[in-house]
């Protein structure tokens, strides 16, 4: 693949291996390789560099098929062309257990704080041990107010309280942290739908963003997660966390292809600054590195 030789039959299985090992998944891999093979035949691409280029273009095309609008991370500061939703910009963060929701919320809250926006976070994970304390530590570090009740409280009540408090004091951004939950658990997904209804009732048009956090080390199950969370609460964007490991996050392609959901952000570490807006070119390039 790194060579500049002629295209051989071995090249196609080599590309297939590369994509599968990057967690792109079998059916997406087959679709991508067939597409490139057809193009190579049509355009008489005979060298490996040309094939590699064609594959990268096919992958970018797949990613850009997902509704890519400029990542909000690029416009945390409201402007005429990118006004913050009024009266309150509400972001709901969801995902399965341990993927990085709470840490990712801290990173986002930090971005909005640094842009001078009055940012509040709601500790709506009232189940897991020390989930509230974890968010409180982060809130302190980034200068965001944390709205919390006691462990075991109704998440809907915490969210209601947070919304009321934000509206009353005219806060600008509210980010809601929810408990990790497996998408296969009916009652937990129903709980999440209820939280979304509470939000919609209090602030018309909210939540303006529903961010699904996905762990980059996840395999094919990421697609099932994206499907189920989208069905339940209409995911508007993905935060791909833990991309600083060796996993390539290849299931992003299957998610783009099947659900059209854009990746908004990537998490690149455990510190508050370890976040970046999603850059499709860089993502595809890294997969081949």
């Amino acid at each position: 693949l790194t060579g500049t030789g002629q295209v051989t039959d071995g090249l196609w299985s080599e590309l297939e291996r590369l994509l599968i090992q990057a967690d792109v998944g079998v059916s997406t891999t087959v679709e991508l390789v067939e597409k490139v093979r057809a193009r190579a035949a049509r355009e008489k691409i005979r060298d490996t560099a040309g094939v590699k280029q064609a594959l990268q273009e096919a992958m970018l095309e797949l990613l850009q098929g997902a509704a890519i609008s400029p990542s909000p991370i690029l416009y945390p500061v409201p402007s005429a062309s990118h006004p913050l939703p009024a009266p309150l910009y509400v972001i709901l963060v969801v995902g399965v257990n341990g993927v990085g929701k709470t840490t990712s919320i801290a990173k986002l809250a930090n971005i909005y704080r640094r842009a001078g926006l009055d940012t509040v976070v709601a500790a709506a994970d009232t189940f897991r041990a020390a989930a509230i304390e974890q968010l409180q530590v982060w809130g302190q570090r980034v200068g965001a107010t944390v709205i919390a009740h006691q462990p075991g409280a109704d998440p809907g009540a915490v969210v209601f309280d947070a919304l009321q408090s934000c509206l009353a004091r005219k806060a600008q951004v509210l980010i809601i942290d929810t408990a990790g939950r497996l998408h296969t658990k009916y009652s937990l997904m129903e709980e999440l739908k209820k939280v979304k209804r509470v939000i919609a009732k209090q602030v018309p048009g909210a939540p303006h963003e529903v961010i699904l956090v996905i762990d980059a080390t996840t395999g094919q199950n990421a697609l099932a997660q994206a499907r189920q969370f989208t069905q339940a609460v209409e995911v508007s964007g993905i935060f791909l966390a833990k991309l600083d490991g060796t996993a390539r996050g290849g299931m992003a392609f299957a998610i783009a292809r099947e659900l059209g959901i854009p990746i908004r952000y990537v998490g690149t570490g455990e510190a508050v600054d370890d976040v970046a807006g999603f850059d499709p070119q860089e993502f595809v390039r890294a997969l081949f590195a």
């Binding site: 291996r17 599968i20 090992q21 990057a22 967690d23 998944g25 079998v26 399965v96 257990n97 341990g98 993927v99 990085g100 189940f127 897991r128 041990a129 020390a130 304390e133 974890q134 409180q136 530590v137 982060w138 570090r141 497996l182 998408h183 296969t184 658990k185 762990d215 080390t217 996840t218 395999g219 094919q220 199950n221 990421a222 099932a224 833990k242 600083d244 490991g245 060796t246 996993a247 290849g250 299931m251 455990e270």
Partner: protein, 291 residues
Amino acid sequence: SLSERLQGVFQKLRGKGVLREADVDEALREVRLALLEADVNFKVVRDFLLRVRARAVGTEVLSSLTPAQAVVKIVNEELIATLGGGLSKISLSGSPTVVMLVGLQGSGKTTTAAKLAWQLRKAGQRPLLVAADVRRPAAIQQLLTLGKQLDIPVYSEGSQVPPPQICANAAKRAREMAYSVVILDTAGRLHVDDEMMAELERVRARTSPGEVLLVADAMTGQEAVRVAEEFHRRVGLTGLILTKVDGDARGGAALSIRAVTGVPIKYIGVGEKTDALEPFHPERLASRILG
């Protein structure tokens, strides 16, 4: 399901007899797809299928089975043989035995530490939990809360003391107070973070654990191999705990990890509550991986 897909492959085979190469290869193409879709590592799939092929070609098909069933039976047996084996219990050898939990960020170590402590106490042991994660916000608080809920003591020295020191002191305290098992909850870390892996080596050096268990998420993809290999190389694993098996991830990572490190799978995490830890059954995971 795999059996259904394979039925199509063998439609053309008339009667029973012996499994021929061409038929086996065609069947294994379907098996390969099933395993890759289950997140089994690419290379592990290749090696596994070579073994299956060697066993399958030339085998007599029992009159009670179709050729498709014969191949699935061999795949299933080989899968169970690979997944199972090895000591499936925690070996309680020292006094106290130190059990070290390691793994990537968010895999379920802290929750599993509490679950394990609870299980061991039910079995008559006297466990001590050790808060060795000084990095993650409120990690110590998380373990303290769990310990309090279960009425299991938690050893902590706050977040300013280096973890190897905390763990060494905890082991010493455990000996003095006659605890029988010491469970070290370490911070999640990347297998490629040299400093953090070195810290783990220091923890091991200072506590001589009887068990070093990799806590791995059932939804882990292709990288499971590299992660497990690196943890095994640096710290020396003695077992694997697969978590979040209560989801619908096929769990192929378990096969990959077992195949490359050879460490036995000891437990599976099947929920968020403290009683959600079960002994590992290779048959169940095998059929889940095959789909």
